[in-house]
């Protein structure tokens, strides 16, 4: 089966305050980088997987993002998929389908 690498990026939603990003932003300012506006921290994950084809791999990674890697109450995700062998992009960037507002499960 073909091997793929998904590079997943998880970010806090714009509406969620990011204190880590804010601290980094202040550090950059104190170093004289006055042109720096907002800094937002996120998480980057590399998932290596085998799948029958690109579309299956894309579906699987999306499923992983929606169930585990990203919490839709506070975060959005985005990923790119490349073939492991030649490191060529297999599909374009795949963002969260819904802006997924925080839902009240109960």
């Amino acid at each position: 089966m073909p091997k793929y690498v998904a590079r997943v990026q998880v970010q806090l939603k714009a509406s969620v305050f990011d204190p880590q990003g804010h601290a980094v932003e202040q550090a950059l300012h104190s170093l004289g980088h006055h042109g720096v506006g907002q800094v937002r921290m996120g998480k980057s994950m590399e998932v290596h997987l085998e799948a029958a084809d690109v579309s299956t791999a894309t579906d699987l990674v999306r499923q992983m993002c929606e169930t585990v890697l990203c919490n839709p109450v506070i975060e959005t995700f985005n990923f790119t998929l490349t073939t492991e062998q030649d490191n060529q992009p297999a599909v374009l960037a795949q963002p969260s389908t819904t802006a997924a507002g925080g839902q009240d499960p109960k």
Partner: protein, 250 residues
Amino acid sequence: MKWAVVVFPGSNCDEDAVSAITEVTGDGVDKVWHTTRDLSGYDAIVLPGGFSYGDYLRSGAIARFSPVLAGVQEAAAAGKLVLGICNGFQVLTEAGLLPGALLRNDHLQFRCELTPLQVVSNTSAFLSDYEVGEVIQMPIAHGEGRYYADEQTLDELTAAKRVGVRYLRNPNGSLRAIAGVVNGAGNVFGLMPHPERAVAQWMGSSDGRRMFLSMKRFVEDNQVAVQSDGRVDFLATRAEKVGVGQRHGH
């Protein structure tokens, strides 16, 4: 009644919870390892504080997939009481048993201190022994306790009196100073402060005792009726008990 305290790899308040429940209620308490699937023998389940699975990915994100959580989900649906303290609260939000999420404190500091809380609503099984508006003291000990939910959810929680306790001096940037929320049926409660660390005067506060006593009284005074649509009703078996009537929820 019979209590279970769930132990995940990385839990560190499990012994405190067992001691507090034993001392306050005199009931039997089992520590239940995270691989246990069946919790049907318990009336109340406590998810303690700590750093389950190292808090990798997000606090509570991995614990949510452990076998014991399936048992917790079933117990919650069957009308048993589920209390999540600190990391336990984080696990319950990740599991979808409670709304919202808990984020890094807005000032990035880990806060460990006795903190004043106000009881906002006492209609749940966990707070019936407190007065609405009463100020109580419990310790907090967390770096990720900033409660977040979208505005609509916050409005719904407020309107349905599902915010159980709020901070008088917001220690972490929680929206609307929320410290603990209850589910719609009133049998699942999560809070960041530690009631189990406030059960004796020498601890600085004994205000946590009444949380365990409220739960005990609720279990002893109510019969659970799960309706065919999954709705959980609690039927008071002792009519004179104030604050415990019939409750509905999904």
